[in-house]
């Protein structure tokens, strides 16, 4: 072999060796590159997986959003419906208010009409009352005058012509005098009774014990054969017209005295008890009493259960008691045993009522 050739071979070998080295280097690099590629791929897959999860999440969120949107749409619809309802309700309220106003106006008008009617009726009643008053006035004036003349002239006959009139004649004249006097009393009583119906009842709290004491003193002043003995227990106060209730006591106590006249003594018991919202007062005597069989006549005007000879009177006293108590929305009643005595009751509203 030629040197040149061997040189050339050495060079060529060296070249090959280098090339091998290069190739090996390259291979090693490739391995590394491959490894990196593998790693990158792995990373990409991981990322893709993550993306897939994220996508799913996104999808879910979208679905949620859609759901929410749908709900919002429904809620909006509901709201719109409610608004409509509210408007409707508002309109209804306006209508209702208008109707209420109208109804109020009608009520007001009715009230006005009613008030006017009441005023008219009151005026009518007042005019009727005035007529009654002037009627009473005429009755008392015009009826009393002729009776007074009859009574007076008869009296003159008795006084001045006694000598020329015989005993029977004088008896007749005395009857005329008695009857005309009686008629005068009846007229006065009738007037007093009719006045009661017209009298205004002025209600106040009455100190009943004080009032009964007053009446007792007044009655005792009149003087009686049997001085009456009073047994007065506690008397609660009541509501009423003092002057009218005083009249009730006067009439009841005077009666108790009058009808005890034929008894040995006059014992009068006065008391009271509470019953519901009323107070019941009573006046009890041990006098002549009356037959309960005629009870329905007891409180009638000009009704009498005794003869004039037995006990004088016009029969107005208890009618007045009845009228007064009635005007106080109270009740009046009585119990009696003939010849043993009577008890008269009347009720008035309790002051606490």
């Amino acid at each position: 072999m030629k040197k040149d050739d061997s040189d050339e071979l050495i060079i060529a070998n060296k070249k090959i060796a280098f090339q091998h080295q290069e190739k090996e280097n390259r291979a090693a690099e490739l391995i590394i590159a491959n490894k990196e590629l593998l790693f990158l791929n792995e990373e990409k897959e991981k990322r893709a997986e993550e993306l897939a999860i994220a996508n799913k999440e996104l999808l879910f969120q979208n679905a949620e959003k859609e759901n929410r949107a749908a709900e919002l749409v429904i809620a909006n619809k509901e709201l719109a419906f409610q608004n409509e309802e509210k408007e409707k309700r508002a309109k209804e309220l306006i209508t209702a208010n208008r109707e209420l106003k109208k109804a109020e106006d009608e009520v007001r008008q009715l009230n006005d009409e009613l008030e006017q009617k009441v005023a008219e009726r009151t005026a009518q009643l007042e005019s009727v009352n005035k007529e009654l008053e002037s009627f009473s006035y005429s009755v008392s004036h015009d009826l009393r005058a002729p009776i007074r003349a009859i009574n007076g002239y008869t009296k003159i006959l008795v006084e001045d012509y006694e000598a020329v009139i015989d005993e029977d004649g004088l008896k007749i004249l005395q009857s005329i005098i008695n009857n005309s006097k009686k008629m005068g009393e009846l007229i006065d009583d009738l007037l007093a009774f009719s006045k009661l119906g017209r009298k205004q009842v002025t209600v106040s709290n009455i100190d009943m014990l004080d009032l009964v004491d007053q009446v007792k003193e007044e009655v005792l002043l009149e003087g009686h054969e049997n001085r009456p003995e009073f047994n007065i227990t506690e008397l609660p106060n009541a509501k009423g017209d003092k002057s009218l209730i005083k009249q009730v006591w006067i009439n009841l106590i005077s009666n108790a005295i009058k009808y005890s006249r034929h008894k040995e003594k006059t014992a009068i018991e006065i008391g009271a008890y509470e019953e519901d919202d009323h107070i019941v007062y009573f006046v009890k005597d041990g006098g002549a009493g009356f037959d309960m069989q005629y009870y329905d006549k007891l409180f009638g005007v000009f009704q009498r259960l005794h003869s004039q000879e037995e006990f004088e009177g016009t029969g107005i006293g208890l009618a007045i008691v009845h009228r007064i108590v009635q005007r106080h929305q109270g009740k009046v009643w009585a119990e009696s045993t003939l010849d043993e005595g009577s008890c008269f009751y009347f009720s008035l509203l309790n002051v606490n009522h």
Binding site: Y137, H141, A145, A149, Y153, I156, G184, I187, K195
Partner: protein, 146 residues
């Protein structure tokens, strides 16, 4: 007619009431000279010396006037008002006589200055007694106004 020295002027439209009243006064010892007129117009004529009474002396005044309340035309109330608003007459005592204590006139009478107010009782005993008392009280017990 002689209207001299008349002490009681009696104004009453009812002849019966007048007769009974005059009798009661006399029986009760009230013998003062009395003149009876039958209505308010005559009463005013008497007091003011007019008409029938033109000859009466206007310097003489009755000591007492008994005045019925209810009379036709000029009522007792009107006569009373006239008397009590006249300075020359207002000191004469005026006793109102009436048949009843009904009606709104009692208060009016006192408001106008009536000195007394008597309801004529039906019972003649009471009537005589009342009239007698009026006469005695105003003519004997009271100091004369003139």
């Amino acid at each position: 007619m002689n209207y001299h020295n008349i002490e009681i002027l009696f104004v009453e439209d009812s002849a019966d009431d007048a007769a009974l009243t005059i009798r009661a006064l006399k029986k009760g010892g009230v013998t003062n000279k009395l003149h009876h007129v039958i209505n308010g117009a005559e009463a005013l004529d008497f007091l003011y010396c007019k008409g029938e009474f033109a000859t009466r002396s206007d310097q003489e005044f009755p000591k007492l006037i008994l005045l019925d309340l209810k009379m036709p035309k000029i009522s007792g109330l009107q006569v009373l008002e006239k008397i009590k608003s006249d300075p020359n007459l207002k000191s004469i005592p005026v006793v109102m006589l009436t048949s009843s204590n009904e009606g709104p006139d009692i208060e009016k009478c006192f408001a106008l200055g009536a000195n007394s107010y008597i309801v004529k009782p039906v019972d003649s005993d009471n009537f005589f007694k009342t009239v007698k008392e009026i006469g005695l009280y105003w003519l004997v017990l009271s100091q004369p106004a003139h």
